[in-house]
Amino acid sequence: MRSSSVKLDSVSKRFNRRTIFEKVSASVNAPGSLAITGRNGSGKSTLVKILAGVLSATEGKVSLTVDGHEIPRELLYQQVGFVSPYLMLYDEFSAAENIRLLESMRSGRRAADTEIDSLLDMVGLAHRRNDRIGTFSSGMKQRAKYAVALIHRPAMLILDEPTSNLDAEGIAIVRGVAERQSTSGILIVATNDSEEAGWCSQQIPLGIG
């Protein structure tokens, strides 16, 4: 198991001169987990995007350290897995193709069939392996995103509204994924559901006041 930690140092974000959130600080050491809670519009999605290195913070600093090395922002993608309802996969490719293409874009390596099959099996999509994502229901798309996010064994897994569009079986799968990640690496969950927030050992509320 690799040692890793993520640190938020008084991070603020302003957007079009509107303050989304101000001076958020937190830190998680692996194995560990953090829930980011708050109402709609409190900036949960913005904060997780900053954690993933997709957005930059207006002030403050975010740092992910893996095995004692701080990961520069342009290489964060190799260490981060991300699942959210607004993340899109390529409709014209099948589930297996999406996983393989995105993984080879990420690391240049060709994912083995067995690897892809076991991931799809885990999220319950093995039978639709070669169907185009465009034909999937939104719940199935959400499941496929978990397979894409886990193929490179990320040091930090970020789940934004982890169970949206999912049925009971899907939620059980996600709970399993979250449990494994929080005992082997870093898990970040952004949610306004208290049960999902309860998966995590720490919570930071956003948008108080």
């Binding site: 957007f15 079009n16 001169r17 509107r18 930059s56 207006t58």
Partner: protein, 234 residues
């Protein structure tokens, strides 16, 4: 700033008076008379106004690009305000330079527009400014607007060397026997002016650039006021 303001007013007033009123005679006797440049005669007076405005256009563009690049580094919205203000002034000077140039070309070359290399480059500069503002108006989020317009200004700036070094050669290649009188432009372009003209010319360059600095200062200040006013309090 007060010195800049006062010297801009004094210098430009001086350039206006001497540029227009100093008589052009075949045998100049001193600083108060200009020599006749063959092929230009009275039209030579345009040099004092056209060239400085064109020069200021380029300076304004470079300043805009410089502040754009600074924005990319600092992410300070004030740099973007400066970049935009400078681009706006550059556009104004560019229009002035185009009009003075076209008027002069009408009387010297026989038509308002000849696609001479210099006319082509100022036309492209106009296009760049136009595109810059079109891009700005098409982006709503101000951080994105600042970022992308800075990138665009820099990209446009990268093509400038091509216009300076390459265009004159290529365009004359595309337009063999282009209309016009290259002799007429020669002494101006190569700074082979008489000392009395050179003084007014250089003062013109300085004066118009000082005017630009003053205008930029006023524009940036109004832009800051506007920015502060529209910022939600608290």
């Amino acid at each position: 700033m007060n010195y800049i303001r006062m010297s801009a007013i004094v210098i430009i007033t001086y350039v206006l008076i001497s540029g227009i009123a100093i008589p052009i005679v075949p045998q100049p006797q001193g600083w108060f008379e200009f020599p006749v440049i063959p092929g230009l005669e009275e039209k030579a007076r345009n040099i004092f106004f056209h060239v400085p405005t064109a020069w200021t256009t380029v300076v304004a563009f470079l300043v805009s690009m410089w502040y754009g690049l600074r924005y990319l580094r600092t992410r300070n919205m004030d740099d973007d305000l400066k970049s935009e203000a400078s681009a706006g002034l550059g556009f104004m000077f560019c229009v002035l330079a185009t009009i003075t140039g076209a008027l002069w070309a009408k009387f010297n070359w026989g038509s308002f527009w000849n696609w001479d290399p210099r006319e082509t480059s100022i036309f492209i500069l106009l296009l760049i400014y136009g595109a810059y503002f079109a891009l700005r108006s098409a982006i709503e989020v101000e951080e994105t607007r600042a970022r992308l317009s800075a990138v665009y200004a820099t990209l446009a700036g990268l093509t400038v060397p091509f216009f300076i070094f390459v265009l004159p050669r290529i365009v004359s290649g595309l337009h063999p026997g282009a209309k016009g009188d290259p002799e007429g432009a020669g002494p101006v372009v190569e700074f082979k002016m008489s000392p009395s003209m050179l003084v007014v010319f250089i003062l013109g360059l300085i004066g118009f650039n000082l005017l630009y600095v003053w205008l930029l200062n006023v524009r940036v200040r109004t832009a800051r006021l506007e920015y502060r006013r529209s910022t939600p309090q608290g």
